[in-house]
Amino acid sequence: MTRTAILTPTLTSADAVSNDALAMQRLLRERGHEVEIFAENSNLAGEQIEQTSVALSYLRGPEDVLIYHHSIGWDLGIAIVKTASCRKIIKYHNVTPPEFFDGISEHHQSLCRNGRSQLEEIVDCRPDLYLADSAFNQGDLIAAGSQHQNTFVVPPFNHTDRLQAGQANLEILDQYCDGSVNLLTVGGVRPNKGHAALIDAFATYYYQFNGHARLFIVGAENNAFAAYTTMLRELTDSWSLDSRIVFTGEVSDESLKAYYLLADALLMTSEHEGFCVPLVEAMAMKVPIIAYASTAIQETANETGLIWDDRDPFLMAQSIDCLLTNEPAKMLLLMRGSQRYEQSFSNCAIAKQFLHVTAQAEFRF
């Protein structure tokens, strides 16, 4: 029986790559395969994670499978990919361009720079199959030298079904269910997420349309990006909106659900996304989407929201106003989003795509 090793640098909660890796393991195990996850760091309780040092010894023969999730520079990971003499699948989640970390974190800049250059090293290893989260990522892979015939798009598995089924944090609901318009963005507070544009857009809506509005910035803050978070706090102060913009930090699934339930719209102003899971969550939770089109955002949303090419705060603000006043348009967008979630992004739909793609590439586990 063949063995499958899933290799990823870090496993954490509320992380798209980790969710993808875990769900992939579950899917393959359900289908009777022997699958282990190997990660250098993990803070997940209840998941059995293997040390990367034993990854190579786990893989015994050429028929075994190594699935490498590439999202950042990781020398050890690349070394394992290069060394392993088995079949290989690269799951490419994209790597944030290092420029975003200029003047913020040299460490992350260097990780990302390595991550970008390592993509070419990976391609040099001639993996058997490339899986890209999006057509945007697929373009990166092909530009790095992968072949069309073994490079496919498979959206990342996600925990949106858990979000749908789980309980919401009632305290948060009670605290903020006060008649205000609640706007939401979800995602780690990282320099590529374009929070400054988000705050500008919210300020425009607040001062030009509705003084009873609130913005939740939901996502973990990282000490490494202190310069970035400080800049956001100062920007918030400069608009005198510190009482209206809530930085929640990292939140539990229950709290995240509460914020989605409260939200009148999800705003996405990120400047670099290989896929953008929060859009999928919004579709599933039936929250209308307003976003600036960048990288993979347009194709993930795909006409389920108001997606703007121009990064203009007035467009963002007017869109919020439109969705709050034009109920029919909002309902139709929500229906589209819900359909798109069911058809393309639910774990069940993604599993089908994953199996379809592997079958198409004649890849047998």
Partner: protein, 555 residues
Amino acid sequence: MEIEKSDSFGDELDLPKLMDHIRKDAEKRKLNSLKNGASPFFRQLMTQGFDVLQPRSSPRNFPFPDLKLQPELAKREQYQISDLLGFNDEAFVRNAYKIILRREPDDSGFVQYLQHLRSGNYGKIDILRSLRFSAEGRNANVQIKGLGRLTAFRKLYRIPVAGYILRLAVAIVRLPVLVTNHLRLESHTAAQLERVASHINEAVAYFSNANRAQAEAIHELNDMKSALRLQIDSLVSERGKVNHDYNTLKADLFSSLDETNKNTRQQSQLQERHAAELQALKVSLEKQFEDLIERLQSSRMDIAQQDSRLSRLLDGTHKPFPDPVAADQMQPLKSEDDHLLDSLYYSLEVALRGTPEEIREEVKVYLPVLKRAGITSGILDVGCGRGEWLEVLREAGLQARGIDNNRILIQQCKSLSLDVVETEALSYLRSLEDESLNAVTAFHFAEHLALDTLVRFLDEVGRTLKPGGLVILETPNPENLLVGSCNFYLDPTHKNPIPIPTMKLLLEARGFLCQEVMKLHAVSSAKIEVKDQLTSHLNHFLYGPMNYAVVARKA
């Protein structure tokens, strides 16, 4: 925002159309915010875009990176000599110090070694040896593999002559290696030069970009400055205008306030004066009214007293006298009896007959009758009452006398200087000579007489009138149903109503020729609309003449 229902509720949402609407609305909103923005800062912010204030788009502008032609030396416990030989020039000296002496080079040492190196007097190994085996170097005791072997060998170079020959021999033996090294150095140098050139190119491009961005930023700042200047100018002028308007308005307000105050003062003074006058008038009227009431009261008392005295007096006359009384003695008492009702009748006359003015107007109708008959004197008005007819006659220049047995009425006539006599009609006529009168008039007299008295009266009139003399008798007309049934009896001294034919019959029976019947005083208002004979009759009987007069002539 207006989205037609069909667009939104159709099978498909027209997303581009919806977004087009939003885009237009956003543009409008942006323009409006420029016009009505909370502050010039906000307007400026909106026109220039947020990026003007601070760069937020990525990639960001950061200082151009340094060019590093030689690798960094990692810190380790033990070094190979090849680790250090890889460096050149300054980097070599610096790294040699750092590794062997574990410190940065001092200035003099650095310059000295660099000069030796550049002059070719010292090779890299010489310098390493010198540093490693100096007192400080021995103290630091850093392990550099290969340095010992090479330095031992190199010591042989220092032997005079033999050393030179040895160096020459080594050089000749190593010539192919040196040539290879030389070639490697050449290509390395070329590559380094290439890196330098490309770095310079990048730097030039970077700085020209930075310059351009800076120029654009300065340009935008200047635009912003002029826009702000304009805003400030317009605000200043607006403020001046507002100030001016405010002052004008204030002045207007104060002046109109003054005027209002003045008017109010005048009005209140006027009101006070009016109130005082009214009060005075009221007091005076109240006083007059009280006086009148008092006088009326006392008059009533007088009358009541008189009345009762009179009644007692009259009562006394009806008791049998103890002794025969002479007729002349009784006469005054008798005549008092006749006047018992004078006061009452006077009241009736005033209440029922009409005002003197009205009566005067009414009786003027008989003047033409007298005029036609050519009568200017010898006119006797029987029952002259308040003397209205006598007045009319006097005004018309006709000579007449009135008689009445009511003492009050006669008194009133006398006060008007009319020729009147207080007397009973029949006895007065009897006192006159035959054919001494030209005309006898009696208005509302005949109905007060019993039939026999009326006949006797007519006979006396016939005796005292000259031939052709006229008698005019006016009396209520009972043909008018209201008069016949009711109004006639308003006066309780009336005896019987006399219909026109009766009157004519009586006159003609006593030898008069009825010349004319004058139907008088029809009701002018409140008539039934005439539609047929019935309504015509009704009108006649209800609203027909209330009085009539018969003009008769003595044959």
